[in-house]
């Protein structure tokens, strides 16, 4: 028997969902137009007024919001309620002006946690479960979202945050965790560590894992499922739309159901902005229907994916999104952290290096690796290997401070970094993330 967190909504007939979305959209556009001068200006420029929006069929008339709009309006420009009505912020990992701050009223927190609760129940969670949250806590939405969702379901919540694998394993075994929530690469790492310590998959009590915040393949899913003896569920979300839980997988493991009562998903041609029909590949765009404080309309996620309305055996009627198969900009997600090559460039310039570098990302034993190759300048040359290694370590530490993840830095002679058309080829992503 399939269980749901909010059955009436999750199994609502498609026509009803669309009616609900239309009704909410009309109100939301009015709310944003009246309270967000920046977006009002975008609408005025496009010649669209709130009264032109009668339902979801008019959605395409609205202007898009992109990451650059969020940068421009940092920190308060997209806020649609008085600051005194907000109870929380969360933030993306970006650090060079790319940081996005999302605001939440209590209502916004509730709906976000409801979305996460739906994901937990879809993964088999009940109040009898012990749910271990090994996503990072703090500004990152991963920890907070699943933590709140776990409370709503009534699970015993273990707020572990990420890292300290020894302790994760101790609590997992001693307190018999049944559901693990973290990034897929961390789940794989925990699995390997358990194996190294001599544990078999059947020695833990886990039955399910809810993994997201970074791209992962079906192959990696099977590896994790085997290593931990669980069923692994994908979850999707982004800070701009709330956090994890915008979409979640059911037992079918065939795409993630988008919480359509709160979000409208569109697929557009990333070059022309034209809306594409269901089943076509394009950029995913989200409109928040219920959020009060930070209600983004037609936010371009840069994630390339496909939507499917095909009937699902789980009984949920929400449209499903396939795993994103790439990004339309230069952002890399490494170990769940957003990394922009420009951030690394900034560190190089600060540390007195030339901005000639190459980033190589790979995945070894299901863990992302980051290698940064940097050209050495003549005045920086040391006559000992220790001297060079010391410089590499110092640079690695500076980049770690900026990104939050540690790269291996390799200093190389000048002109050894391949340039195409005079410009260095900056990023080589060797990971096979998409089957």
């Amino acid at each position: 028997m399939e269980r749901y967190f909010q059955k009436d909504i999750e199994t609502m007939p498609v026509e009803k969902i669309k009616e609900l979305q239309s009704e909410k959209l009309v109100k939301q556009v009015k709310h944003v137009y009246e309270n967000v001068p920046y977006y009002r200006n975008l609408m005025d420029k496009k010649g669209v007024r709130p009264e032109d929006i009668h339902g979801i069929e008019d959605l395409h008339k609205l202007p898009f919001i992109s990451k650059s709009d969020l940068r421009e309006t940092y920190p308060y420009g997209m806020l649609a309620v008085p600051l005194s009505d907000c109870v929380r912020i969360q933030s993306t990992s970006g650090t060079t002006g790319k940081r996005v701050i999302a605001y939440y009223t209590q209502h916004d927190i509730e709906l976000w946690e409801d979305c996460c609760a739906r994901a937990i129940v879809a993964a088999g969670g009940t109040k009898e479960d012990v749910l271990q949250v090994a996503y990072g806590y703090g500004l990152f939405t991963g920890g907070a979202g699943l933590h709140g969702g776990s409370h709503k379901v009534g699970c015993l919540t273990l707020p572990m945050s990420s890292g300290n694998t020894e302790r994760q394993i101790q609590f997992m075994l001693d307190l018999k965790s049944t559901i693990l929530c973290c990034t897929p690469s961390y789940a794989a790492y925990i699995g390997e560590t358990l194996k190294e310590q001599g544990y078999k998959p059947e020695d833990n009590s886990l039955k399910a894992g809810i993994f997201g915040a970074e791209p992962w393949t079906e192959e990696m899913r099977r590896d994790i499922e085997k290593a931990l003896g669980i069923k692994a569920y994908d979850i999707y979300g982004l800070t701009e739309t709330s956090g994890p839980g915008v979409a979640f997988e059911c037992k079918e493991q065939k795409g993630m159901h988008i919480n359509e009562d709160h979000f409208i998903a569109e697929i557009i041609d990333p070059d022309t902005g034209e809306v594409l029909p269901e089943g076509e590949k394009g950029e995913l765009v989200f409109t928040s229907l219920d959020k009060e404080a930070f209600p983004l309309l037609r936010y371009r996620t840069r994630d390339i994916c496909v939507l499917s309305r095909e009937k699902c055996s789980c009984g949920r009627t929400f449209i499903r999104m396939a795993k994103p198969m790439g990004r339309s900009d230069d952002m890399l997600i490494i170990r769940g952290v957003n990394v922009f090559p420009s951030q690394i460039e900034t560190v190089l310039l600060n540390e007195g290096y030339a901005p000639n570098y190459r980033i190589e990302v790979d995945r070894v034993n299901n863990t992302d690796t980051l290698d940064v190759f940097v050209e050495l300048l003549p005045e920086q040359l040391s006559d000992t290997t220790e001297g060079i290694v010391k410089m590499e370590k110092a640079l690695s530490a500076a980049i770690t401070t900026m990104l939050g993840i540690r790269p291996a830095v390799h200093l190389v002679p000048p002109k050894t970094i391949v340039r195409s058309e005079g410009k260095a080829v900056r990023v080589i992503d060797k990971r096979k993330l998409h089957d």
Binding site: L376, P378, L381, D383, T385, I388, H410, V412, P413, P414
Partner: protein, 139 residues
């Protein structure tokens, strides 16, 4: 006692060393001594040549990264225990040796040793005072 050493930074890849020796051969640069310190990623070539400034220019013109490093040169008698005597002396006086390499002098009686110390001036004084013979130029 001071010697100007040519220091070159190279990737640890096949062919780099021969490229440099070939360049020197073409430019008529005579190599007196050569030592390599390497890791799996890169190598640091330390060279004593007859004309370090010219050699550096040749390397730079061909895209190599190099610099001149000051080291000291000492003549050591070609008998057992002589190098040990010099190093013990430096250690006693608190001079740390970062690296050294040795090569034959051309006679059977002595060898030349190139030393890079944390304090080259002090190392020089200590060795001179103990009667070691300095090598000043090699051209």
């Amino acid at each position: 006692m001071k010697i100007r050493q040519l220091t070159v930074f190279v990737e640890n890849k096949m062919g780099y060393l021969s490229e440099i020796t070939e360049l020197f051969a073409k430019s008529g640069i005579d190599m007196k001594a050569l030592s390599i310190a390497d890791t799996k990623d890169f190598g640091i070539l330390r060279l004593i040549v007859d004309n370090p400034d010219f050699a550096l220019k040749v390397l730079k013109d061909h895209g190599f990264l190099g610099t001149i490093t000051e080291v000291i040169g000492v003549e050591i008698k070609n008998t057992a225990g002589e190098l040990s005597k010099a190093l013990t002396l430096l250690a006693e006086k608190g001079v740390n040796v970062e690296y050294l390499y040795a090569f034959l002098s051309g006679t059977k009686e002595s060898a030349f040793v190139v030393i890079k110390a944390t304090d080259n001036i002090k190392a020089e004084t200590v060795l001179k005072d103990a009667g070691f013979k300095a090598i000043n130029g090699l051209s």
